[in-house]
């Protein structure tokens, strides 16, 4: 009862404060979801599933038609009849918590000065109180990779849970990857006011050489002499504790980037990969995962198939490559689901699309041991949806749990809608 009163109090407060959502309290009892259609996240579907979790971990996943359980041991039972359960969606390559209002400079903390900045850490600037984040997580996105921008190596990304009091609290895996923006094979001439044609990047070789030099020196660096924080940060790449995410689109550039990483025995991850579909054999041969840029995008040229970006994922899937869906930006992340939905409309298997938002992403980001599928022993980070989470026509995310914590799905926008609908009701 006290908890209930406290919750009511919180709701009132949050409405008054324009819905600054309060982080959830740790899971106390045990919860059972029953009668749900479960999308496990690894391609499997259980039509009538039982999902139990306690202390933030999943303790039970079963098919109600096959197993009998003692429901009385659960403190809370959620009837999810007619509803779908998915693993919490993971958004890779985002600006969440770094960019609040992109046009307002004082609200942005996503970019540093310099070309090679591997020691820069995005987690430091991650703002748990962003008003944007609750609008993303109310669509079912519960984890995100927060990535710095700018320069050749903008720095290191971290994975956060989208619920937490401060960045330490939100951090799920810190400094997990160093991002490298591979030089563009082609670039636009002119300047912003008078754009020229897109031609071969004349500085490409020089720029690649600069990367080669930087990596060579970083590798040679032992740290016994004068300390260099940049090279210290690079160590993780060479000892396998950090991932290398290479932002790259052009087929030849992707190939060069991959071979470059391989030379250093670093398994590369390609981010963007607009033309990855053209070189699937190569990517398969080198076992390269891809964090695919937005599906809802325009074709690359007049001549390209009008639906090429829509079917890129399908081509990667057919080539048995590991890929995840992504899109740029912060507020835009709430549309991540629809990047996968669009791919389904153009040929991708539905459960494969869900994998591209959950288990594939977890695997690429190196957190698959804890999240990405609804499996016993993993974190109870999951969502209950009325309707199809990939389709805006029916999707309604009703409940979300982050490590068993029932998080507040309200947001500033819902509060504003309530406020003004309330105003009109009074009239």
């Amino acid at each position: 009862m006290r908890v209930l009163i406290y919750n009511i109090f919180l709701i009132i407060i949050s409405n008054q404060l324009f819905a600054q959502q309060t982080p959830a309290t740790p899971q106390t009892g045990s919860i059972l979801i029953q009668n749900a259609k479960l999308h496990v996240g690894d391609g499997a579907v259980i039509e009538n599933a039982l999902i139990g979790f306690e202390n933030g971990k999943i303790t039970l996943v079963g098919d109600a038609r096959n197993i009998r359980i003692d429901k009385s041991i659960y403190t809370q039972i959620i009837n999810a009849e007619g509803k779908e359960v998915y693993p919490g969606i993971i958004a890779p390559n985002t600006q969440i918590g770094l960019v609040e209002i992109s046009a307002v400079r004082s609200s942005n903390d996503n970019r540093e000065v310099g070309t090679f900045n591997p020691s820069i850490r995005s987690i430091i600037a991650y703002n748990t109180d962003s008003r944007v984040t609750p609008t993303i997580r109310s669509n079912g996105i519960l984890l995100a990779e927060v990535v710095p921008q700018g320069g050749r190596i903008p720095g290191q990304s971290s994975i956060v849970e989208l619920d937490g009091w401060n960045w330490e609290d939100a951090a799920y895996r810190t400094d997990m990857a160093i991002h490298l923006h591979w030089p563009r094979a082609f670039r636009r001439g002119g300047w912003w006011a008078a754009p020229g044609p897109i031609t071969k990047n004349k500085d490409y070789d020089k720029q690649v050489q600069a990367i080669t030099d930087f990596f060579a020196e970083a590798k040679a660096y032992s740290g016994t002499g004068v300390k260099n924080l940049k090279f210290e940060a690079m160590k993780g790449l060479f000892n396998g504790t950090k991932k290398l995410m290479i932002h790259c689109n052009h087929p030849t550039a992707i190939k060069e980037a991959v071979l470059f990483a391989k030379k250093h025995n670093i398994p590369p991850i390609i981010v963007g990969g607009r033309h990855a579909w053209r070189i699937t054999d190569f990517l398969k041969e080198h076992n390269v995962p891809i964090i695919l840029g937005a599906t809802q995008d325009l074709p690359f040229s007049e001549d390209e198939d009008i639906d090429q970006p829509f079917k890129n994922a399908t081509i990667l899937e057919e080539a048995e490559l590991l890929y995840a869906f992504s899109m740029n930006g912060a507020w835009q992340q709430r549309n991540l689901l629809f990047q996968a939905g669009q791919a389904v409309a153009f040929g991708l298997d539905y459960e494969d699309a869900i994998k591209g938002l959950t288990s594939n992403t977890a695997q690429i980001l190196g957190i698959a041991d804890k999240v990405g599928t609804i499996t016993e022993g993993k974190d109870a980070t999951l969502i209950i949806v009325k309707g199809d989470i990939l389709d805006m026509r029916t999707s309604q995310v009703e409940k979300a749990f982050v490590r068993g914590k029932a998080i507040d799905l309200d947001n500033k926008q819902k509060a504003l809608a309530r406020k003004f609908r309330g105003k009109y009701q009074r009239q």
Partner: protein, 999 residues
């Protein structure tokens, strides 16, 4: 009568020529008048492009042609040249150049990156620096001897020159390409008035867009009329005075592409003008419309280079529009000629002018006749410039401007030897004697052998051999020198060494002395071999004159363009789920009949003879999506944000039919859109309201009787907060100032209207005319808006001035004032879920459309974005997801409601008998992310069909492969190539501020 060996004669004439004419100039020395009386006989003469005289005579005197024809009596006191074997053509006329003019400079200095609102030009001139009407090229013309020499070498005799700077560039001068001083070279001043859509060196901000440039021209025509009719009493304006004076001259308008011809032609029609267009070489891509302008043209022979396609991953960026243009551009002149369009050819734009004739020959290979080619460089320029009385053909009384060649000018082996300008001869190359073969019996010392000489007498091939050699072996094995009557020979008869012979011409061949390899001196002689054995010659195969084959022209000229535009058909959709948007709601298993571009029947069990029946079982049929706010299909600038009001400009003037996004949007079920001006200023520009008729021209895309609209804008963009710190000068800088802009402009517009109605003379002001239409409820506003205060404000302004604000676009805080909007009668057109990209959208919510709808406001969802534009059905569905809207209502957000907002609901927006057949057949519930348009009709014409699209993709691949092969072949044969590149396709948004018409 003195017959003189030509080469020598002309050298003399040139040297003495400095003394001629210039009667007003003092003589320094003995007065040396000469008549420059010359006769050219026995020549083949092109009297004009289509009149060839054989064995004819040309007589000139004092720089003019005296007579031309056969069997002319040769006057005394004339120098006669024998022109046997030579051909005389009129010299070419270059119509488009800046020869002899100084480099243009800006009128002043624009403070760095700060706005410049008015012209920097000092004096009683017009307000816009890009209009330099008062400029006369003749006043600054200086002979450029070096340049003149280059042009003479190409066969040009006369050149029209103007300073290529600005939108009105003043007048051009016609000058001869001789090396005499300006007093002689300058033939005619104020020949033509030159115009363009580029600002040139003007540093003034306005105009920054093509539509702004068009508006500026229109306003200037009106201002000039006003000035003539009494305005000059109110102010002196030297630019307008000049403008009025120049209207009788030929008006030469430079454009950047084929669509600009059509745009400029619209201005010409409005003001009863006729422009001569300096084209860009892509006229063949819209030939019918260009023909319909009935204009004359100056066409470049600059043809694009092939791309280097050796790297397959680099070729992926190439676009058919560029690749096809490479192939088809050389056929442009031929196609224009075939269409009976009058045109001159220009060397303007050629990086290397020496390729001028070569490129014309290329055009001939692509079907231009030689006669048409000659016409386009001689007669047509003269005719277009109205100078036929002095140039363009060789007739008595005309200028003695002609070239002398050794044959057909359009054949590769032909050489231009002389270029006569104003009766003065310039030698480009000395005449060559015709190549001959000679065989001599050569005896030197005790040896007897034969000497064979063949080819160009100045650099002959020679061989010493005992027997008649074959053609192949006749190489330079002999060092052979012939200088007038002297000859030297050196050769190695065997391995012992070299024989050197030196001698002079004798009655019979040559004779002289020489040394043998061992150093002994000997005598030698070469006498003609009486038998004259002929050297076997390899037969040179004559190149067949077949016209080069090219791919087809497609409309628009790019991938997915049509060879043949699709036509309206009779369609019967059977068993569809029909979203009527009418009180019938969603009909299951219904039939819809489309005929003559209209919906003619909706019901069950329909049948129609001759109809294409489409089984729509399990599919959904809806009316086409209408995008209330789009910026695709626009050329050169979406904003004219250089002034706080630009009501005079119109997107309708710059609709771009050649934008692939039209096709992509059809594939997303969009059939119509309002193409909006951007949001850089409180009073923006007029809209272009179009249907996506893919392949049509800009004019054909426009919805003819659509109600006129104008874009207004509020908030951050118009107060320039995101433009950088330098932009703090232009009014307004706050929402307070924005209100004043409106109140002030509508007050002025009302006063303008009063004066107009009073019958008193008034200056027609296009900006005020537009605003007056709003006050008179003939034009409607769609206003970019975000926060509630400004939305409220504009409704109050509208109420104060007696009209209704039609539509608030974006309107992200509309939900806060939905009741006020409903009361006022304003509609809203919003984004589904955009927010947090700038400060004024921090309170944007995805429930906005739903709340507005709940409060009875007509609300639409728009794109403002080329990518989002092709999935507006999904954007509508987000109101179901976030706002809890019903599916039927949500669907209206992108169909019926925008039709209502655009006053087009009487003919569009729902499936109702009598309405336009703008229909989309969907694979699924259209609000679902899984729904794909299978077919999109506009006016009953199938512009998109998913099956046909699959076929088109294959055709595109095939055509690309063919062109890549052709380019590879071209490179293999040694042709020039350039690295692959792709045009930049600008995707406009509201806040784009690029100056698109800077040089």
């Amino acid at each position: 009568m003195n017959k003189i060996f030509l080469g020598i004669a002309i050298t003399i004439l040139c040297i003495s020529s400095n003394l001629i004419a210039q009667k007003t100039f003092p003589t320094n020395g003995v007065y040396d008048h000469r008549d420059k009386h010359f006769v050219f006989e026995n020549a083949t003469i092109y009297k004009s492009y289509n009149q060839k005289l054989e064995n004819a005579t040309l007589i000139i005197k004092n720089g003019k042609i005296v007579s031309i024809g056969s069997r002319l009596s040769i006057p005394k006191n004339a120098v006669v040249f024998d022109m046997k074997g030579k051909t005389i053509y009129p010299s070419f006329i270059e119509m488009y150049s800046n020869y002899g003019l100084p480099k243009p400079t800006a009128a002043g200095k624009r403070p760095e990156r700060l706005p410049q609102m008015l012209s920097n030009k000092k004096g009683a001139y017009g307000w816009n620096e890009a209009l330099r009407t008062e400029f006369s090229s003749d006043k600054v013309f200086k002979v450029n001897k070096e340049e003149a020499k280059k042009m003479r070498k190409l066969g040009f005799g006369t050149i029209l020159t103007h300073q290529m700077n600005g939108m009105s560039r003043g007048t051009s001068a016609l000058v001869n390409l001789g090396d005499d001083r300006e007093n002689i070279s300058l033939l005619k001043t104020k020949v033509a008035h030159h115009l363009s859509f580029s600002k040139g060196k003007s540093t003034q901000n306005y105009p920054s867009s093509l539509m702004g440039a068009i508006a500026l021209f229109r306003q200037t025509y009106y201002d000039a009329q006003w000035y003539k009719n009494g305005g000059s009493k109110e102010e002196r304006n030297l630019s307008l005075e000049a403008w009025n004076k120049l209207q009788e001259l030929p008006q030469i308008f430079e454009v950047r592409d084929k669509l600009e011809i059509l745009r400029a032609h619209k201005i010409a029609q409005e003001f009863n003008m006729r422009y001569i267009f300096k084209g860009s070489g892509d006229e063949y891509q819209r030939l019918d419309e260009i023909k319909a302008t009935n204009a004359q043209f100056i066409i470049p022979v600059k043809f694009p280079e092939a791309f280097d396609v050796s790297d397959p991953y680099s070729t992926m960026m190439l676009e058919l529009s560029d690749m096809k243009h490479w192939e088809l551009a050389p056929s442009n002149p031929a196609r224009l000629a075939k269409a009976n369009i009058e045109f001159a050819l220009t060397s303007h734009g050629l990086k290397n002018k020496e390729t001028f004739l070569k490129n014309i020959k290329k055009a001939i290979k692509y079907g231009l006749s030689e006669e048409q080619a000659l016409k386009a460089i001689t007669y047509s320029p003269a005719k277009i410039l109205k100078i036929e009385s002095i140039l363009g053909s060789l007739e008595s009384g005309k200028l003695a401007n002609f070239i002398i060649t050794d044959g057909n000018i359009f054949e590769d082996k032909t050489t231009i030897y002389q270029n006569w300008i104003n009766g003065k001869g310039y030698i480009l190359q000395n005449f060559k004697d015709t190549p001959t073969t000679a065989v001599y019996n050569l005896s030197y010392g005790d040896k007897n052998t034969m000497l064979f000489i063949e080819g160009d007498p100045e650099k002959p091939n020679a061989l010493i051999a005992p027997n008649v050699p074959s053609k192949d072996s006749l190489k330079k094995e002999v060092i052979y020198l012939l200088k007038k009557d002297l000859i030297t020979l050196s050769f190695s008869p065997d391995s012992t060494g070299v024989v050197h012979l030196s001698g002079t011409k004798s009655n019979l061949g040559y004779k002289g002395e020489g040394t043998l390899p061992d150093g002994r001196w000997i005598k030698w002689s070469a006498t003609p071999n009486r038998a004259n054995p002929t050297i076997e010659k390899k037969e040179i195969k004559k190149e067949k004159k077949e016209i080069e084959q090219t791919g087809k022209v497609v409309y628009p000229f790019m991938a997915y363009g049509w060879e043949k535009r699709p036509q309206t058909e009779t369609f019967l959709f059977k068993n569809a789920t029909v979203w009527t948007n009418e009180k019938e709601g969603i009909l299951e298993k219904a039939d819809v009949l489309v005929k003559n571009s209209k919906i003619v029947q909706v019901g069950n069990n329909l049948s129609a003879s001759g109809a294409t029946e489409i089984d729509a079982t399990g599919k959904h049929l809806t009316s086409g999506i209408i995008d209330e706010h789009a910026h695709i299909a626009i050329s050169r600038g979406v904003n004219e944000g250089t002034q706080y009001s630009s009501a005079e400009v119109s997107i309708a003037d710059v609709v771009n039919s050649e934008d692939i996004n039209i096709y992509r949007q059809l594939a997303g079920g969009v059939t119509a859109a309002q193409l909006l001006h951007g949001s850089a200023n409180p009073i923006g520009g007029q809209s272009g309201i179009v249907k996506f008729r893919w392949g049509a021209t800009p004019e054909e895309m426009k919805i003819k009787d659509a109600a006129p609209f104008i874009k207004f804008a509020l908030g951050e963009n118009v107060k320039q907060v995101n433009w950088g710190d330098k932009y703090r000068i232009r009014f307004p800088q706050s929402r307070m100032g924005v209100e004043q802009v409106y109140d002030d402009h509508f007050t002025r517009a009302r006063e303008y209207g009063n004066r107009k109605r009073s019958g008193k003379p008034y200056r027609k002001d296009l900006e005020m005319e537009t605003l007056l239409e709003i006050l008179e409820k003939k034009r409607f506003i769609t206003c970019h808006s975000y926060v509630q205060s400004e939305i409220n404000m504009l409704m109050k302004i509208a109420e104060k001035h007696g009209f209704t604000l039609n539509t608030f676009t974006h309107i992200l805080e509309g939900y806060k004032v939905a009741d006020k909007m409903q009361k006022h009668g304003a509609g809203g057109s919003t984004f589904s879920d955009w927010w947090a990209y700038k400060y004024e959208v921090i309170d944007a919510i995805p429930q906005n459309a739903a709340i507005l709808n709940e409060q009875g406001v007509t609300v639409a969802i728009n794109s403002d974005d080329a990518e989002m534009g092709r999935r507006l059905n999904q954007e509508a569905a987000k109101s179901v997801m976030y706002g809890g809207m019903s599916e039927e209502d949500a669907w209206k957000l992108v169909t019926l409601n925008p039709a209502i907002l655009l006053h087009l609901d009487h003919r569009m927006g729902s499936i109702k008998v009598g309405k336009d057949a703008d229909l989309v057949l969907w694979s699924d519930n259209p609000l679902s992310i899984y729904a794909k348009p299978e077919m999109t009709l506009v006016d009953g014409i199938k512009y998109f069909d998913r099956e046909k699209d699959q076929k088109m993709r294959k055709d595109i691949q095939k055509e690309r492969a063919r062109l890549i092969q052709k380019m590879l072949q071209h490179k293999k044969k040694g042709g020039k190539t350039k690295p692959p590149s792709k045009k930049h396709h600008h995707l406009y948004h509201c806040d784009d501020l690029h100056d698109e018409i800077e040089d």
